[in-house]
Amino acid sequence: MDNFEPKIVAFCCNWCSYAGADLAGTSRIQYSPNIRIIRVMCSGRVSPLFVLKALSIGADGVLILGCHPGDCHYIEGNYKTLRRIPLLKKMLKQFGVEEERLRLEWVSASEGAKFAEVANNYTQAIKNLGPSSLAPSK
């Protein structure tokens, strides 16, 4: 599919990554419009449920962005995310979901350029992967 435009849900933590996305915006850095940002208070707030829900209703990829390890506003929320994501990926593999459909990255409030880079990279990775067909069977 040449003109495949993936739908990507990005969960951004309020304190670092959302501020990073904001900085990308105010700095007029252009990045892929495929990213749909959902602001959460902490990457640790992103229950695996949110990822499954996004995938089950048609997201082609899910990006979770949090503060760098050690920088969490809530001290260890992002460490919980760091532990959950590999287990969730392992489980999703058993559901026939490619590992790349879920990615965890650290973006701080000062990294507007990195936010844009991650957004563009991930969009390209999902474009290469093609659409997800995980919607529940009828």
């Binding site: 229950s47 695996p48 532990r83 995980l134």
Partner: protein, 319 residues
């Protein structure tokens, strides 16, 4: 007083739920004082044709156990829904899909190949697979269609109440039957159990801080009889499972496997347990975390042991 009319049915299930209904012991006499059983394939010789002749809504309550796996299951679920005032999903199979639902990691083709061809104890050199229709000298025979995806009862018909458990404990069964007999019914859609909280709430084991360096499978260690099983590295599902069972398994040194379904308000039990479990891994180093996770050989099958058809994804994608 006019007696209540009760029907019991089994769809894709092991038969354990039918035994569980009898496990109420002498209370069954109290039940028969106020209720007549009008249909119960495992116990009484009634035919589907008898049910078809009953007027609509003439059965007061139907206790339906078993998941929906074949066209026959679906047909009878719809028939009994039409004939019954109350439809009760009895047991984990009809509530969440349970063990039959695990075949949603496969489809009909891969299931048939495994069962009728690859299975080492199966002798089937002609590779014959079940067909819905077959011609014999006497005419055409028909058997129900086997579906690709196992579904819960509520995905097929409107369900009034859910009774959790694999199988439901005696006291849970009686709680449901008592509500029927006394007419003091909970709000529609309720999951009938003595607890809305997690199994841990009823578990007498000593609970301290949960930090896990290594996960064990039950045969690998002899657990301390006093301490929380999860803290000892066993995948005890109590934290993400509705109580009401009395935490029987952890008290017998076996980790909870999650048969009472999610606690009140949770929509995907597996995701809930995954979240809780991963959070207590005692490491901040990606390589070590990966090593600890490698101790869990089958996360999807463990987290969705009883609830795959009722989960958000419902089934695996088959390539």
């Amino acid at each position: 007083m006019v007696k209540l009319k009760i029907a019991l049915y089994w769809a894709a299930s092991c038969g354990g739920c039918d035994i569980a209904t009898l496990a109420i012991g002498d209370k069954i006499l109290k039940l028969t004082e106020v209720a007549d059983i009008v249909f119960w394939p495992v116990g009484i010789d009634f035919k589907y044709a008898d049910v078809e002749k009953m007027p609509d809504k003439s059965i007061d309550a139907c206790l339906f156990n078993g998941a929906i796996r074949t066209s026959e299951n679906e047909h009878i679920a719809k028939l009994l829904r039409a004939k019954s005032k109350l439809m009760i999903a009895y047991g984990s199979c009809s509530y969440e899909g349970c063990i039959p639902g695990l075949s949603n990691f496969y489809d009909r083709k891969t299931t048939f190949e495994r069962v009728y061809i690859e299975n080492p104890t199966t002798d089937n050199p002609k590779k014959i697979l079940p067909q819905t229709k077959v011609k014999v000298p006497e005419g055409e025979l028909e058997i129900p269609e086997f579906y690709d995806t196992v579904k819960t009862l509520a995905q097929i018909v409107d369900v009034d109440y859910f009774v959790p458990g694999c199988p439901p404990e005696e006291k849970t069964t009686w709680l449901a039957l008592e509500a029927l007999i006394t007419g003091k019914l909970p709000p529609k859609g309720a999951v009938i159990s003595h607890s809305v909280k997690a199994v841990c709430d009823e578990c007498p084991r000593k609970k301290e801080e949960k930090k896990i360096k290594k996960f064990y499978r039950p045969y690998e260690i002899v657990p301390d009889p006093e301490r929380c099983l999860l803290e000892q590295g066993l995948l005890c599902y109590g934290v993400a499972t509705r109580g009401g069972c009395g935490a029987l398994c952890p008290q017998a040194n076996m980790p909870c496997t999650g048969c009472y379904g999610p606690v009140e308000g949770v929509i995907d039990q597996g995701a809930h347990f995954l979240s809780a479990l991963a959070s207590i891994i005692d490491s901040n180093e990606p390589e070590e975390i990966q090593r600890i996770i490698d101790d869990i050989p089958d996360p999807a099958g463990t987290f969705y042991r009883y609830s795959l058809p009722d989960s958000l994804l419902r089934r695996a994608k088959i390539r």
